[in-house]
């Protein structure tokens, strides 16, 4: 069972969370009406055998979405943060 460090609530069990989406997806701007750009947002994915950023939700906790950097080969979690956080920046240095 995974244990995920919610950036707000601390380390919690997998059953409190739901996986939401690829964590790198940025929705096209509202003014953007390109079908291609929306296709890429909605459908295209870059599979990562290894470390990838994901969006999860602490659905049975604080309800917040969080970014999770996780290894898809080992299930190790290397970092978590708020949705807008850059996980490359160490936690203490994030604004």
């Amino acid at each position: 069972m995974l244990h995920i460090a919610c950036p707000w609530c601390g380390l919690r069990a997998q059953s409190e969370f739901t996986y939401a989406n690829d964590g790198t997806l940025i929705r096209p701007d509202l003014s953007n009406d390109s079908i291609d750009d929306h296709y890429n947002y909605v459908y295209a994915r870059d599979p990562r055998r290894g470390i990838q950023d994901e969006m999860w939700r602490h659905s049975a906790g604080c309800g917040q979405f969080l970014k999770v950097r996780r290894d898809t080969l080992t299930h190790e979690i290397h970092a978590t943060g708020a949705p807008q956080d850059d996980l490359d920046v160490p936690k203490d240095d994030r604004s």
Partner: protein, 978 residues
């Protein structure tokens, strides 16, 4: 103590003051408190306890614990019966009943043993090569195969017992209560760390009062560590009441622990390997450690005269203990050409034949062992040579070396490695926060185990910040005894996997046919696929395959160790959450009232909703029609509490909603509602509902019952992740407000009577209007919206008042003839009005398909807008919402029918049948007096007036239907607006 002829008068860990009666295959026996079923059977001289899977050969007890492949019994009967139970792990209790398995008609005479005669026709994988002709007979063959397979019988009555699960957290979890594990738990416990120690046996191997006195240490006995998952989560299965005839009242039978441990210490011990030689499955052939265990722990002699057969030193200790218990050791047969002096000292006064091996086991009555034949073996090749020697015996105690129990280590993703000196796989690099110690780590020396345990326990505690005792120095340099693997190179029926009847020849056949990878070997021969999961067979099987392939064992590889370590009950895994408790149930504030009226219920997500209220003298259908008709004629109330309700507040609430609904909302004033539709990002319709502007910056939006959760998640995702700059606060208030719809011509009068301070006149409170009032101190929200198509309102009150308002409406409206109606009537009313719900909102329709194109704002961007423009979503030929009426005006439209032009068209070959559409909803319309339906039909909007067929071959119904406008009742909306 009659009958326990193989029990010694003294010794062992049993309590002779507590005699216990039990039955096996209907026969009565006696044992003692502290016995296992296996030890008690052996004490009574019961040798044959089961039949093998394929050849139905008689089998006896091989081991003394987890490793047991043969002695599987059907435990108990009736509701508490339990198949495939290892007799070696069943604690004896008074009144225990057990039955042997996989034999018919009896254990002594098993018809299927005839399979043994045809064994030449039944090599590994024989079924892949035969039973193919004639093709239509396979299902018959299969029935016979199925009947022959299986083992125990599943219970057919409800399990009366209670199972529980629980979570636990600790700093250090120690698995295994042997010397190493206890030592580790002590060291970790002394540091103050929170420690859990789990041991499968009823007691720890060493009595340890210091451990028991530590508040920070939890000792769980009768607890098997079943699985090791990610992030140091382990599953433990605790047997609380299995050693009793039945649990006490309210007592839990088994408790499954889900432990999150910061550090784990695995002290899971080692299991002995059998040796592979002809007829090594005869009852009486057992593991040396098992014979030793029965002698030492249970004071049971496994037989009268034993031959010990070994390739390593450990069996000499077993021989000593067996001899001490009174078993005559006829000889120790050692495959090694030489043994050390210290080893030989252990066998003083016992005949030792080195460089020899057993090449056959003779059987007597019932198949039990009565002697062995030996030969000298070639020191390099292991091939038998010279003349045979016969020795009479009724026990063969064999030892092929030891396998560290690395299952949990392997499950933890630790890398295992082959240790040639120990001839075994041992833990290599750990992956998680884990340490393996003691025999599980290939350390077999008692003192070394204790020190290794101490050091691991202390280090684990130190790693999580506790001040733990210092490491002790291990008496290193104790070499493991040389234990070359040995198996007889030839001879019939050399069993490798006892439970699945896999022989060395089967492995040879797999090799010759190319099933050489370990996984192919396993799958082709079924090696290691029994309930014991290959505990006694895997390494021997690998060694034989390696030998064929002329590879070293590690080059052959191993199969993956899958959870659970040893089988665990399904009841224990599910705990509370089965049957009625499978999932939570959501109830509205009026649920109890509906129940009291005898309503039937249906599930909508987790909610239970009343379908209709029975009426005396009416069939269910008549009652439903009555409710629907009554709403059109008078007034009815329906519980709509289950609709999703989301409170949306903030400076940007309007902007946010404009982005997620297709509607233009900028002109929605405070005090008004609007019907709204949401698309998914992919452009298809997601959900519909109403949007009400409660205040300048506050909205209440509703969702369908089943989509409430997904819609909330969707909105939160957008608000939190994609548009964090918007000031918007979302809260699900579905359960805060009870919802009641009041529908029908009399609804206005009814509400006017109840809320006298509200002006219900059309101008003051028009269709799609919203009003708030306060009734006796209770805040009330009134919406003039309609799902039924009638003049109607929805009323929201804080949920605790819901039941009171419901009954108040019924009381107040008694003169107006108000009745309650359920979801069935509601469904009829909305079909009559052409309103869509689940079957139409099927996740594959566009807004245009449902006739909502006009709602789609062109003035602003919204979610789904762009991908809704894709070719396939805008092409001609899409299915559109239509009304359906039977062409003859009376035949019911079959539910789930498909709509075609030609119901007699033959089935196609490669191009899908020409189906034009489907019936999505259907009912009898009391308002119209005939059946109606809704459907999605290709270009349906252009086909009004066409006649097609609603074709339902699955119910043998075909009905000519005419396509119409989907709004059957009041298409002009006079009732709504009036």
């Amino acid at each position: 103590m009659t009958g326990q002829v193989f029990r010694n008068g003294a010794g062992g860990r049993i309590d002779r003051t507590v005699p216990l009666s039990f039955t096996f295959d209907g026969k009565n026996y006696q044992g003692f408190q502290g016995d296992t079923l296996a030890s008690a059977l052996l004490a009574n001289g019961v040798r044959v306890v089961g039949r093998s899977f394929k050849y139905h050969r008689p089998r006896g007890i091989l081991g003394a614990g987890f490793e047991e492949p043969n002695a599987l019994v059907q435990l108990g009967d009736g509701a508490r019966t339990e198949p495939n139970t290892q007799a070696t792990r069943v604690e004896l209790f008074d009144g225990l009943t057990a039955t042997s398995q996989n034999r018919w008609p009896s254990l002594q005479f098993d018809i299927s043993a005839i399979n043994g005669l045809f064994h030449r026709l039944l090599p590994a994988g024989f079924y892949y090569k035969t039973f193919m002709a004639p093709a239509n007979l396979w299902m018959t063959y299969e029935k016979i195969i199925r009947r022959a397979a299986g083992m125990g019988r599943a219970p057919t009555q409800m399990d009366p017992d209670i199972y529980a699960r629980r979570f636990a957290h600790c700093n250090v979890l120690v698995i295994g209560g042997g010397p190493a594990g206890v030592s580790a738990a002590l060291a970790a416990g002394q540091s103050g760390a929170r420690v859990i120690l789990a041991e499968d046996n009823p007691q720890l191997s060493v009595s340890e009062t210091e451990l028991a006195d530590m508040d920070n240490v939890t000792v769980l006995t009768r607890t098997m560590a079943a699985a090791y998952y990610d992030h140091n989560t382990l599953i433990l299965s605790e047997r609380i009441a299995d050693h009793k005839p039945a649990p006490a009242p309210f007592e839990t039978r088994q408790r499954m622990w889900k432990v999150r441990a910061q550090q784990v210490v695995l002290a899971t011990g080692a299991l002995e390997r059998p040796l592979v030689f002809p007829n090594n499955d005869r009852p009486g052939v057992m593991l040396a450690s098992a014979a030793q265990c029965y002698a030492a722990d249970f004071a049971v002699r496994a037989g009268n005269q034993a031959v010990v057969f070994t390739n390593n030193d450990s069996a000499y200790g077993a021989a000593r203990d067996m001899k001490a218990a009174g078993i005559d050791i006829a000889a120790i047969i050692d495959t090694r050409p030489e043994i050390s002096d210290s080893t030989r000292e252990l066998a003083t006064n016992t005949k030792v034949l080195t460089g020899h091996a057993i090449i056959d086991v003779a059987s007597g009555r019932g198949g039990a062992t009565r002697g062995v034949t030996l030969k000298a073996i070639h020191p390099d090749t292991g091939a038998p040579k010279g003349s045979p020697i016969d020795i009479a015996c009724d026990v063969v105690a064999m030892s092929g070396g030891w396998n560290p129990t690395i299952h949990l280590f392997s499950q933890s993703k630790g890398k295992i490695k082959y240790d040639g000196a120990r001839a075994a796989f041992v833990p290599g690099q750990s992956f998680q926060q884990e340490r393996s110690i003691g025999a599980a780590n290939g350390t077999f020396d008692h003192e070394a185990c204790i020190i290794e345990g101490h050091n691991a326990g202390a280090a684990a505690a130190r790693d999580v910040g506790f001040d733990a005792p210092d490491a002790r120095t291990s008496p290193s340099g104790i070499p493991p005894a040389a234990q070359p693997l040995w198996s007889a190179p030839t001879g019939a029926k050399r069993f490798v996997d006892f439970q699945n009847d896999v022989t060395a020849d089967d492995i040879g056949l797999a090799y010759r046919e190319g099933y050489q990878s370990v996984e192919h070997l396993k799958r082709y021969t079924t090696l290691g696929m029994g309930t014991d999961q290959g505990r006694t067979s895997n390494v021997n099987g690998l060694a034989i395959m390696a030998d064929h392939r002329r590879l070293d064992i590690p080059e052959v590889g191993t199969t993956t160790f899958r959870p659970p370590f040893s089988p665990i009950t399904l009841g224990g895994i599910a705990g509370w959450h089965t049957g009625q408790n499978f999932e939570a149930t959501r109830q509205s504030a009026m649920s109890a009232w509906h129940e009291a009226q005898g309503a039937t219920f249906s599930n909508a997500g987790l909610w239970r909703r009343p379908e209709y209220y029975p009426r005396t003298g009416m069939t269910p259908a008549e009652a439903v029609h009555h409710e629907a008709r009554h709403v059109r004629e008078k007034v009815g109330v329906v519980d709509v509490s289950t609709l999703g309700k989301i409170d949306v507040q903030g400076r940007d609430a309007l902007e946010f909603l404009s982005r997620v609904y297709i509607n233009n909302l900028t002109k929605l004033p405070v005090g008004k509602c609007r019907y709204g539709v949401m698309l998914r990002e992919d452009g298809f319709v997601f959900d519909d509902g109403t949007i009400t502007r409660l205040a300048e910056m506050r909205f209440l939006v509703t969702t369908t019952t089943t989509h409430a959760g997904p819609v909330m998640t969707h909105l939160e995702y957008l608000a939190q992740v994609q548009w964090p700059e918007l000031d918007v606060h979302l809260l699900s208030v579905s359960e805060d407000w009870a919802g009641i719809a009041i529908a029908g011509p009399n609804s206005r009068t009814l509400l006017s009577q109840l809320f006298q301070d509200v002006d219900f006149a059309n101008e003051a409170f028009p269709f799609m209007g919203y009003r708030e009032t306060n009734a006796g101190g209770v805040p009330v929200r009134l919406f003039r919206i309609s799902f039924s198509g009638e003049h109607a309102y929805e009323l929201n009150v804080p949920a605790d008042y819901g039941l009171n308002f419901w009954t108040a409406l019924l009381e107040t409206g008694a003169d107006l003839d108000v009745i309650p109606y359920g979801t069935e009537a509601m469904n009829i009313l909305r079909i009559e009005k052409g309103h869509v719900t689940g079957a139409e909102l099927n996740g594959r329709v566009t807004a245009d398909d449902l006739g909502f194109a006009g709602m789609m704002s062109k003035l602003k961007p919204f979610v789904g807008q762009v991908l809704a423009r894709r070719d396939a979503l805008t092409a001609k030929g899409r299915r559109q919402l239509v009304g359906l009426v039977p062409a003859d005006g009376e035949t019911p439209i079959p539910a789930g029918a498909q709509i075609l032009a030609d119901p007699d068209a033959p089935p196609p070959e490669f191009t899908p049948a020409a189906i034009l559409g489907e019936v999505t909803s259907n009912c009898y319309s009391p308002a119209l007096g005939h059946p109606i339906g809704l459907g999605l039909v290709e270009d349906g909007s252009d086909r009004h007036g066409d006649t097609l067929y609603a074709h339902s071959p699955i119910t043998s119904e075909t009905v000519a239907i005419t396509l119409t406008n989907p709004v059957f009742v009041d298409p002009a909306g006079g009732r709504l607006h009036g």
